[in-house]
Each structure stands twice: as structure tokens, then as C-alpha cells.
Symmetry: C2
């Protein structure tokens, strides 16, 4: 920007499209909490009138629903894309894919992980999270049966520990840092499958 350009950033700001509204709204939900965010405060943050906001989304709950779909659709996709092969191979591909989804959709997954079930939209999201967990647990169990995953840890405990590691990424990973998404996914797989110990 040239130093003679005195135009404030707000001047000439184009109208937001639906995706941009979604992105900013999710940021506000994360900062203030979904329940504590009113449509009025969302509109104010966007510099829009409430009616302009309602032109894009029918309700605050619809914004949440679309945001959670981003996260859940992405996560469910990694199981669908885990492909063929041994349970161990599919588990590894699913874990790898989940890390990439978390990094790619960081704010949406952050929001998903904070959902406590105070509305129909939130309860539906929790149901889908539980279904996802059950599918991963089934994959861990199948890998135990084929003998490729240790069988001395309960498959549902193992799944929760794995996703404890994966989900923690939303708490500490910053895309601007030194570690890229692919390297992070590699690290998660290395620790999850082979552990930290130098064997």
C-alpha cells in the first residue's frame, strides 16, 4: 500500500458474501461463545443491518448448522475416503486425513468441539460426532482382530486417546508456525502408531 493511500480499510468495503459472513460469525462464536452471541451483535460486528444478515441466513442457528457441517462433513469424508485395504491401513489414512481436515477447517472444528448440546442443531452435531467415534472405534477393533494394533487397550479408550491427540491441535496449532499440516499429520501418525520411545 502506498503511503499516500489514506483510505480507511472500512471505506469501500464490498458487501460480504455468505461464505465471508460464515467465516466471521464463526470467529465471533469462538470468541464470545455461541449462546452468548446475539444476532444483533453478529450484525454489528459485520457492519450489517440485521435484515441484511437475515438475507443470507434465516437464523443464528442456521449459521451454526452450516459451520458445523463444514467440520462434520470434512471428518466424515476422511472415513469415506479411507478406501480399501487392511483395517490398519484405513485407520492410518483416516487419522492422517483427520489432521489435515483439522488444520484446513480449524475454526469450524474448534466450534464443533465446544458444542455442548443446548439446541437441536447442537444435539444433531453431537450425534454425528458420536457416530464418527463409533466408526473409528470399529476400525481400531478390526485392526486389533487382524493383529496389526495392540489388543491390550480397549478400542474405545484407544480411539479417545487418538482423537484427544488429534483434537488438541485446535488448541495449540497455528498455521503460521514452523510446522506445516503434512509434517503435523506425519508426527501424529508416528506418535499414535509407534509411540515416543526410541525403540
Amino acid at each position: 500500500m502506498s503511503d499516500v493511500d489514506q483510505t480507511p480499510a472500512r471505506r469501500g468495503r464490498p458487501g460480504y458474501d455468505r461464505d465471508q459472513i460464515l467465516e466471521i460469525a464463526v470467529q465471533v462464536f469462538i470468541e464470545q461463545g455461541y449462546d452468548a452471541t446475539s444476532v444483533a451483535s453478529l450484525a454489528m460486528r459485520l457492519g450489517l443491518s440485521k435484515s441484511a444478515l437475515y438475507h443470507h441466513f434465516a437464523s443464528k442457528e442456521e449459521v451454526l448448522e452450516v459451520a458445523l457441517e463444514e467440520a462434520l462433513g470434512g471428518l466424515e469424508g476422511v472415513l469415506e475416503d479411507a478406501g480399501e485395504g487392511s483395517a490398519r491401513d484405513r485407520l492410518e489414512r483416516a487419522l492422517h486425513g483427520a489432521v489435515l481436515v483439522l488444520v484446513d477447517k480449524l475454526p469450524y472444528v474448534t466450534l464443533l468441539l465446544r458444542v455442548r448440546g443446548n439446541s437441536d442443531v447442537e444435539r444433531a452435531a453431537l450425534d454425528r460426532r458420536r457416530a464418527f467415534d463409533r466408526q473409528v472405534t470399529a476400525l481400531v477393533r478390526a485392526a486389533q482382530t487382524e493383529g496389526s494394533v495392540r489388543s491390550d487397550v480397549d478400542p474405545s479408550v484407544a480411539t479417545r486417546l487418538l482423537f484427544g491427540m488429534v483434537n488438541s491441535i485446535v488448541e495449540w496449532y497455528r498455521p503460521s508456525g514452523s510446522e506445516g499440516a503434512q509434517e503435523l499429520a506425519r508426527d501424529v501418525l508416528a506418535v499414535a502408531l509407534h509411540g515416543l520411545a526410541e525403540s
Copy 2:
């Protein structure tokens, strides 16, 4: 209780002591959020007057401070108690101890993990969490130097993944379930050190 005992539980309820107030207040903070909880609503939940509550704690913030001390003191203790020996031995003892602290102090650690730094007490707690993370990271680095922990993962990423796994316990572990604290600690160590793969 005999079926002729018609006394409602509330009748004859003894005055709460400080520990009981702390325990219930932490439950309310977890349910409603610390910021959203007023002293008035705390007092109402306890069935106490505000002045009776102030007899035990000078402020809502003091309740939070004492609660966070429970969690932080416990976690810092596991590093102090990790003893002598190789970095790997100390790391294993610290991880094992951290799982036991989480299970023993589940609501207090839950509260700690939700602290976002909106007040001096919360910022001081975040500082102590960061100091704890740095000490664990130093232990991982020392174990890498002695050759007992894999050195292809950055020690601070490794620490965050380990504690992602450990901290997830507050989200899903129920003390009433089939898995006891010692078994859980054993599982965490097994996955963290040796991974899920059947070697």
C-alpha cells in the same frame, strides 16, 4: 434409607464448609461458564445468602483461584515427584502422575483447561500452565538427547500431543466406568511410549 423416612433431603441440611462450597461452585462454573456465573446465582445454587457465601470466600475470583490451585498444584507436584533417574524415567513418572491427578481432580482440571485469560487470576493460571508445558518439553528434549525418545518429532509438538491425549480425559472419562485410574494411566503410557501398532 427406610421407606418411612419422609424427610426431604434439604431439611436439616448442615451448613456447607469451605471445601463443599468450592466443589459445588466449580460444578456451577463448569455448567454455566465462569464469566456467566454471578455471585448471586452461586449463592442461590448453594441455598446460601450472599453474605454467608462471602463469609467463606472474599469474591468469585477467590473461589476460582482456590479451584485452579487444586489443579495446578496437583500437576506441578507430579513434576516435583518425578524423582531421579533418566529423563525417560522421569517423563514416564510425570505422565503417569498427571493421569492420576486428572482423574482425582477431574472438575478442577476441567475448569483449568477452559480458562481463557479474562482476569488476573486466569492469566496467572495460564502462566503456570505454560511453565508446566515448558518443563515437560525440557524433559522430552533431555530424553531425546539421552537417546530414549524419538528425535524426529519436535519436543514441543511431542509434549502437546502427549498432553492432548492426557487432557482429553476430562472430556470423556467417567470415574464410574469400567476403567480405573491406574488402568487408564497404564493405557496412556502404553500408547504414548509405544504406540498403537502391534510391533
